[in-house]
Amino acid sequence: MIPVAFDYHRPASVDEAIELLSDDAKLLAGGHSLLPAMKLRLSSPGALIDIGRIAELNYIREDGGTIAIGATTTHQQIASSDLVSANASALAQAASVIGDPQVRNKGTIGGSLAHADPAADYPAAILALGAEIVVRGSDGGRSIPADEFFIDLFLTALAPDEIITEVRVPAADKSAYVKFPHPASRFAVVGCAAASAGGAVKVAFTGVANAAFRDSGVEAALSGGLSEEGIAAAAARAADGQEVLADHFAGEEYRRHLAKVFARKALATIA
């Protein structure tokens, strides 16, 4: 449990951090995914760039109907934010069930999204809420829609020279996140987020496939509305057509079943 030796940088600004980025360097925020991997020697970067103390990255504010969240905002800050709870409760609920109190007080939203663990909680909420991930690189900044961000297992649309600076979450009318946690890791075996905004409902899953995904089949089946029957019919289509993860704790059949159950629970919460 001893990592390979590495250099350590603590830049004072985002620009300074971008300058330090290289193929051999990793960004360190809360460290709750990266450091365990390094201790197991599954990851051995030559340098860590600690952005955890860059003050300009830690905030939650309202910005014209959108909630803007700085990248190093912790899960605990998001879970306990009235602003997030009132406008994007799926995100607050997801933040509140990540790991344990120690993890929630250190882990950050930017770090979690960049890491893109297939069983992480945020991605489902981010997709269902239609958030945008704001990034900055050596060539300037851009904003990536959530639908384009999660690509595959631990793989995102983030370029190697880019840093997530902000997550922009449009206010939803109603939203919810429910999960079936793995009893050891507390990661999502299945997590489902549902959000309604302006009459449209979005449903997204985490833990089910290699990357979190919007479930277009469930969404399409919801044209009948959020009646009990409508929800049951839509939830029954959960994860249809998806290549579903399978492991010792939850094989494919059981995971598909849980996806249906948790789709129903999430939709019932926003009905």
């Binding site: 010792h248 939850a250 059981y254």
Partner: protein, 790 residues
């Protein structure tokens, strides 16, 4: 007075809770080096070559040693402490268990080389530079595959991967009883492998002192004297008196720190080679791979009942997975600690058990909290409940009608079972009655019936376990006849200081049990001194006369009795001194509340004054030696037999398969109780451990022998929010053959609880058609069973 029976707060907790405990890893010797082990990534492979050139040249590296180096130096293999011969009479096959593998590795984590460096970091870096040329071989993982035709063979000299087989009981009588039974309940299942998960990973420091030609080994062990004996006599060939073994504070073990491990040998031997201390601390990953695992049985059981529900015969056939080598006490766990308990609390007239021990390419298996008794209890209690469900009988009534009648072991004789043991004392019906009253059995059944009638999806189940176990191991002559290569007594030195303060040197070793408190209560009660006037010393071969260590819930029954014996000698000598000082006859004195008094007078002398006189013997009985200190060795007359009745209430969510434990009632009988709070803590921890086995814990290997559940990301330990508030109570049936009347309390919860939980889930799902479930009852498994049944 009356310190026995008081819930005295644990005196050791001040230092533990404030982070002031002194564990092995806290010991920092000057000029120490740090060891990292190169371990096999393969479950089964031949070693063609080990190249240490790059590692030896790496920064900070002091030395690198391989299995070949140890062989050349004449270092022996790790010994096994118990011999179980074949049914045929052939001797147990005992293949070499090298400290470092030289020619072949047999499980993932098998050590191949050791790197010593100036820092832990440098040792870890250099270990990665050792190049081992492996030729990977097919692996065998499951117990049931080990004896299959064409299965990979671990050892050339152990045909069919079978080092022993064993049987107990009357096979012909049992077969006949089952053949004529009105009903036979049959189950076949795995009692899954568990990983011990002590909170403190193992750690060892070797320190050779060239000036004195003397070795010190610091190790996180449950029995330092036995480690010293095994290591000096069987592995390193060192003079025992030139080796000191110290086990300071030890952070849990659950059995896994009983055994003699390769790392203890390595740090001791390496320190001699380089003339510097060598420290090794296991990472959590190494703990998962190399701490001896527990359980891992495959069993078929048949229980016969007559038309009235009386048990007529029990037949058990078990294959026990021993892992890749014979760990220190591995052979006795699935035999003498298992088969002998299969009569349980019942009058079953015919019992037969047949066990085959097998090697596989997995981590060695040995004693884990309960050690054989949880496996035996699961066989019986799961099967008895199944018989009740199959025949439509009430499970409490079915048990009651088959219970051995109450006996106290004094007025009534001990109960002789069909499987070797003679129970000391028991009142099994009383424990069950108390548990039924505590849980409100009739109301619960009414609620269950109502929920079923309503069909509201609430699947409530009630499950029982009435268990017996054997503690206080054991009469040395008996275990010697059964293959133990050690005695199983205990020693205690009690030193009364001139001021009347007392220092106790005990061979028991606390790794969390609270001996410093419980033993102090025993001494305070016996000598009439304050608890604060007693100091308990353990875990150091230099100060403690001898010790067989702590396991099998034996510390109070055996170690505590050794203390009592020494106190008796102190009181006997003290009475001589007191009589002399009081100018009275010894037989006219009585000792109570810390004073000797001349009966019927107010003439008395305090314990402290007698102690002072013993060390300042100006006015002293003629011919009596000065001093007031005695050492005793106690070899028990029999095992002790705690028992109890556990009832679990569960609710199953059929949609997800999640089992919620709603209530848990445990009525245990551990004989007399010295500290009720400590006993309750042991019961709570034990039940939690057992619920862990029933619902969560499982060592999972893939077919190639890789441990899939090798971290806390996958290995599920129970957590507080998985558990109800336990409802615990006791009956008290004193042990008739030790002076404290105690039986042992460290393992009851682990032994009793797994079948109670599984039985409750089966009871909940029986109406849906679910007939069996294998531990752990994971949500997926429960959901699948419901799907298949409906």
């Amino acid at each position: 007075m009356g310190v026995i029976g008081q819930s005295i707060k644990r005196v050791e907790d001040q230092r533990f809770i404030t982070g002031k405990g002194r564990y092995t890893d806290d010991i920092a010797l000057p000029n120490s080096t740090f060891a990292a082990l190169v371990r096999s990534p393969h479950a089964h492979a031949a070693i063609n070559n080990v190249d240490t050139t790059a590692a030896a040249a790496a920064d900070g590296v002091v030395a690198v040693f391989t299995g070949a180096d140890l062989e050349a130096a004449g270092v022996g293999g790790l010994p096994c402490g118990w011999q179980v011969d074949f049914k045929s009479g052939d001797t147990m096959k005992e293949p070499a268990h090298p400290v470092l593998a030289a020619t072949k590795v047999r499980h993932v984590g098998d050590p191949v080389a050791i790197v010593l460096a100036e820092s832990r970091e440098q040792a870890a870096d250099a270990a990665e530079l050792v190049v081992v040329d492996y030729e990977v071989l097919d692996a065998v993982v499951a117990a049931t595959q080990a004896t299959a035709e064409g299965a990979p063979q671990l050892f050339d000299d152990v045909p069919n991967n079978t080092p022993f087989d064993w049987e107990l009981g009357d096979q012909a009588a049992t077969d006949a009883a089952l053949a004529s039974a009105a009903h036979v309940t049959t189950l076949e299942y795995d009692n899954q492998r568990l990983i011990p998960n002590a909170i403190e990973p193992r750690c060892a420091i070797g320190d050779y002192d060239g000036a004195r030609d003397h070795y010190t080994l610091y190790t996180s062990s449950q029995n330092p004297h036995v480690i010293r004996l095994l290591m000096t006599a069987f592995v390193l060939g060192l003079p025992e008196h030139k080796v000191r073994v110290v086990s300071p504070d030890v952070g849990g073990g659950f059995g896994s720190k009983i055994f003699h491990y390769a790392e203890e040998v390595l740090v001791t031997w390496c320190s001699r080679q380089i003339g510097r201390p060598v420290k090794w601390t296991a990472s959590r990953s190494e703990a998962f791979l190399t701490d001896a695992h527990g359980r891992d049985h495959h069993t078929r059981v048949d229980l016969g009942l007559d038309a009235d529900g009386n048990f007529v015969g029990l037949r058990v056939k078990t294959v026990a997975n021993l892992g890749a080598y014979l760990s220190t006490f591995a052979p006795c766990v699935p035999t003498y600690l298992y088969g002998t308990l299969l009569q349980g609390l019942y009058t079953t007239p015919a019992v037969h058990v047949d066990v085959t021990g097998v090697f596989t390419n997995t981590t060695p298996v040995d004693a884990l909290r309960g050690a054989g008794r949880p496996e035996a209890t699961y066989v019986l209690e799961r099967t008895v409940e199944q018989a009740a469900l199959e025949t439509g009988r009430d499970p409490a009534q079915l048990r009651s009608q088959n219970f051995i009648p109450a006996f106290d072991g004094v007025e009534q004789e001990g109960y002789q079972t069909q499987v070797a043991l003679q129970y000391d004392s028991g009142n099994y019906g009383a424990a069950l009655e108390k548990a039924l009253a505590a849980i409100g059995y009739d109301e619960l059944r009414a609620e269950q019936a109502q929920a079923r009638a309503a069909g509201n999806g609430r699947h409530i189940g009630i499950g029982f376990s009435t268990y017996i176990e054997a503690c206080g191991i054991a009469p040395s002559a008996v275990v010697g006849a059964l293959g133990a290569r050690a005695g199983l007594f205990e020693s205690a030195g009690v030193r009364v200081q001139p001021t009347g303060k007392v220092t106790v040197f005990t061979g028991s070793h606390s790794h969390g049990q609270g001996h410093e408190t419980t033993f102090a209560q025993v001494v305070a009660d016996g000598l009439g001194v304050g608890i604060e006037d007693v100091d308990i010393i353990h875990g150091d071969t230099e100060s403690v006369p001898f010790g067989m260590g702590t396991y099998g819930s034996r510390s109070l029954a055996v170690g505590g009795t050794a203390i009592v014996k020494s106190m008796d000698k102190i009181k006997e000598k003290g009475a001589k001194i007191a009589a002399h000082l009081l100018e009275a006859a010894e037989e006219d004195l009585e000792f109570a509340e810390g004073s000797w008094t001349v009966k019927g007078t107010d003439q008395s002398i305090a314990f402290g004054e007698v102690a002072l006189a013993a060390y300042v013997p100006h006015n002293f009985p003629e011919g009596l030696e000065p001093g007031l200190e005695f050492t005793s060795f106690y070899d028990p007359a029999n095992f002790t037999f705690p028992f109890g009745a556990h009832i679990a209430v569960v609710e199953v969510d059929a949609e997800t398969g999640v089992v919620a434990v709603r209530r848990y009632v445990a009525v245990d009988d551990v004989g007399n109780i010295v500290n009720p709070m400590i006993v309750e803590g042991q019961v709570h921890g034990g039940i939690t451990h057992g619920i862990g086995q029933a619902l969560f814990e499982e060592a999972v290997y893939d077919d190639s022998g890789q441990l899939i559940s090798g971290s806390y990301m996958d290995y599920v330990l129970p957590r507080a929010d998985d558990l109800p508030s336990f409802e615990t109570d006791h009956t008290v049936t004193p042990c008739p053959h030790n002076p404290l009347g105690v039986k042992g309390a460290g393992e009851t919860g682990t032994i009793g609880s797994p079948p109670a939980i599984v039985n409750a889930v089966l009871d909940a799902l029986w109406p849906l058609g679910v007939r069996d479930l294998a531990m752990p009852l994971t949500p997926q498994k429960v959901w699948q069973a419901i799907q298949q049944a409906s």
